[in-house]
Amino acid sequence: MSVVSSYTPRRGRNVELVLLIAAVAIVLLAYVNVGVATSESMPPGTMALAGGYLAMAVGFHLVLRWRASYADPLMLPIITLLNGLGLVMIHRIDLANGTSISDGVALRQLMWTGVAVVIAAAVLVVLRDHRVLRRYTYLAGVVGFVLLLLPLMPVIGTSIYGARIWIRIGSMSFQPGEIAKIALAIFFAGYLVQTRDALSVAGRKVLGLTLPRARDLGPILIAWLASLAVLVFERDLGSSLLFFGLFVAMLYVATERVSWIAIGLTLFGAGAYVAYLMFGHVQTRVLLWLDTFSPEALEASDQLAKGLMGMAAGGMFGTGLGRGRPDLTYFAESDFIIPSFGEEIGLVGLFALLMLYVLLVQRGLRTSLGTRDGFGKLLAAGLSFSLALQCFVVVGGVTRVIPLTGLTMPFLSSGGSSLLANWTLVAILLRISDHARRPMPEVNVPHEVGQAHTEVVRMP
């Protein structure tokens, strides 16, 4: 017997609005900081930009009030802040590179932010219930794998700086892996909800670990082969690690069997090792990772070394926004945006940034815990974990925890596809959280039912 106490659930929309204003204020402060540091004057159009950015965020906030009034109130302020800080840093690197606002990367990023916000809002409006997505499980699977492997197609696939994770159609280039992340999470969630019972049937016991049955190994092997294909042919350890990690994590959540994690790690480790033995580009990556400052490594690429020196230059408190030299590192505004932040806002600032991600992921996982349906639970856990894993792969890559990969930092790095995908990802999380936090509809059952007087009818 559980005791159901009646309470008024807090929607938190007002809290969200206050936090949003605070987030935009911080972004504004950072922007002014950069302007003052680089030209010793207030940057032009400050108020217009801040107003526009605030309008965008508040617009999204209003959509939440309208269509998902119980959604988590922390997620939107967090991604608004991250996206805004990313914009400021990209603008700051534009300035260092001498590009004007009109043809800088920052303006394009701002434009993409607008597109991403609109699309994310549209997702919230159109997708009234996340469970609808379950209907498209296999379609999402096909789309996901196609997107993932699309860059390998001869005409549209493009190799940029060694990693073949781009497609190019006309003048548009796109990183389909970012969208694939969402599609695959939907696919895994739908598929695993269906098959979790079969997949959790116990097989033989080895070394105290209950292994699944051999016939159930099919899906993990397919995911493994696909991730190895990404690693070998797209030369991208990051995407490979992200997708396989996502699959294994969701498999574990669905089946509650640790053995899947063990099998997954073993498979990935073995695959990565074989790839290391067989492919020169993997070896170079590993050399750069383990021995960044050796002459051979520096000859291959001094990018990582430069990023590290940038971070070291920042030290504990950073040089201050606009006062460092993040532009000395290549890709300072995309793959290496974390070292750029490390240099200018210091270790303290970097910790704060990482904590924002932790908070975001934690809200996502909290959503997963609160969701009542298995599909929503799996999807929320998968999307949140993919965010966490991506942060780990990117930051770990530039700080030598793992080999460097070509992934972008969600919300911070420049890149339209990444922004689109991550805003949409958070929109789906918001939709699920709305369900999770929305009170159960009151079922109007007269409480006297059980206590109603019974009449004993005397039988004749």
Binding site: V253, E256, L308, M309, F351, V358, V361, F385, A388, C391
Partner: protein, 483 residues
């Protein structure tokens, strides 16, 4: 499914914790190492952006940082660049190179630990951090006189204050213009450096302290005489054998004088006269008499074998460890494998001048902070007592004889007693010998000690090179100081 989600959040926590650790390692624990890497351009650029301290000669800044409107914020400028090139060195995009710029980089750039509290206070007062200024010991008059006298001559000249060891002049010819190596135009910088570095005359080398070591030739006879007088068995009046040619024991080789004939009547010559006319045979005989150990010990007392930082590192002068008799005879007159820097020979002259006490040479008188407070000042320091005051007095009189009535008459100054010694050092068959002169003045109250070398400036087979080419340079330097 909630339990595995909770566990997943622990995995997430571990992932992020590892990132907190890795960023801490980079930005805090190993930050200093990374910042100190020579290929770290950020460090270089930030030292550029800080106003570097000046280098002063007298009250004039010979190296200073001038604000410019580019990413480096400051441009290093050298007024009178060629005159002080080897003292200042240069400071460019690639960092400090040579001279005080390199040797005292920590002070000039302001990164020295001794400036730590100043930097902290700058942080709080909002004052722009600045490097410290160096006040040199150079006497611009002596420096200028030396450079002028050495125009067109390849070689070096060093002048010391014998009583303190302060370096009054440091000239190395040919020289270069450090402004050529201080620009912000990378390709011009590379081109200028390449040109100077491949120049066969090697203008970038500071010949006075760390060029190739030179054979000292006859000026080393001062050391030999010091060793002999210190044994107590010789005085300035001792009579020495001075034949035209000295037969060397255990070999068929012989050692002749640089001039025809014997050094005196009956092949006998007084010690003073032998010094004055630079009699090879007499000094070779004395050297063989006192032995290699005594000679080497005397040389070391004058500073041979010491690694000195003035603060630029000076190459130690050397005397061979093992000497047989013929080699000892050769070494006694500054040939064979005795090798010296001009600074070392100036120290020999200064040691004799200063009653036998050799002072440690130094170039920086004081370090001055940006608020004009004195951060550090150099106190004269005795390196060693090379000879007793009595021996020093005898050596002084012997060296005076060189100038009044010997091979160094061209170093004479009206009304001033000058002590000196000429030298002509052979350095290879068929090449003109180096011309040397060391001296100090006034002999009774020495204000300046000088060593001058003119490479290939001598006359083959003659002792007159040192006296004719190098002595006038030394004289002009001494005159500039005494005026």
């Amino acid at each position: 499914m909630n339990a595995p989600v909770r566990r997943l959040s622990i995995v997430v926590a571990i992932l992020f914790a590892s990132l907190l650790v890795s960023t801490t390692l980079i930005q805090y624990v190993f930050a200093a190492d990374l910042n100190a890497r020579p290929d770290n351009r950020r460090t270089l650029l930030s030292t550029y952006a800080r106003e570097r301290g000046s280098i002063l000669v007298g009250q004039t800044a010979v190296a200073s940082s001038v604000p410019v409107d580019d990413q480096f914020k400051f441009q290093r400028e050298y007024s009178n660049g060629e005159l002080y090139a080897h003292v200042t060195g240069s400071y460019s995009f690639y960092g400090a190179s040579g001279g005080l710029e390199q040797a005292e980089n920590a002070y000039l750039s302001g990164s020295s630990d001794k400036l730590f509290y100043r930097r902290v206070s700058d942080l709080f007062t909002g004052r722009r951090p600045q490097g410290a200024t160096l006040e040199t010991t150079l006497d611009p008059a002596v420096q200028r006189a030396a450079a002028k006298a050495m125009t067109g001559i390849r070689g070096a000249a060093v002048a010391l204050d014998p009583k303190t060891g302060a370096i009054l002049a440091m000239v190395s010819q040919p020289t270069f213009d450090p402004n050529d190596l201080a620009g912000h135009d990378l390709s011009a910088l590379d081109e200028n450096y390449e040109k100077l570095n491949t120049d066969p005359q090697r203008p970038l080398v500071n010949r006075s302290i760390n060029g190739d070591l030179y054979p000292p030739g006859s000026i080393f006879k001062v050391v030999t005489a010091a060793a002999a007088l210190s044994t107590g068995e010789y005085t300035e009046d001792s009579m020495l054998p001075g034949p035209a040619v000295l037969e060397l024991p255990g070999t068929t080789a012989s050692l002749p004088n640089m001039f025809p004939g014997a050094c005196g009547d009956n092949d006998q010559v007084s010690f003073t006269r032998a010094m004055a006319i630079s009699c090879n045979t007499a000094f070779a005989a004395v050297g063989m008499d006192i032995g290699a150990d005594a000679l080497r010990a005397q040389a070391e007392k004058f500073g041979f074998g010491d690694s000195l930082s003035v603060p630029m590192r000076a190459t130690p002068s050397t005397i061979p460890a093992e000497l047989n008799m013929p080699q000892l005879a050769q070494s006694s007159i500054g040939q064979f494998d005795v090798r010296v820097t001009p600074l070392q020979m100036a120290m020999v002259a200064a040691g004799v001048a200063n009653d036998g006490a050799v002072m440690k040479p130094y170039l920086v008188q004081s370090v001055i902070g940006s608020d004009l407070s004195v951060i550090e000042t150099t106190d004269p320091q005795e390196l060693s007592q090379a000879v007793t005051p009595d021996v020093a007095a005898q050596l002084t009189r012997m060296m005076e004889a060189v100038v009044t009535d010997g091979s160094g008459t061209r170093a004479q100054i009206d009304g001033v007693a000058v002590a000196g010694k000429s030298g002509t050092a052979q350095h290879g068959e068929g090449r003109k010998p180096h011309a040397w002169f060391i001296s100090f003045a006034p002999a009774d109250d020495p204000q300046i000690a000088v060593a001058v070398i003119a490479e290939d400036g001598g006359v083959t087979g003659s002792e007159i090179g040192g006296g004719r080419v190098a002595a006038p340079i030394a004289r002009q330097m001494m005159e500039a100081r005494l005026k």
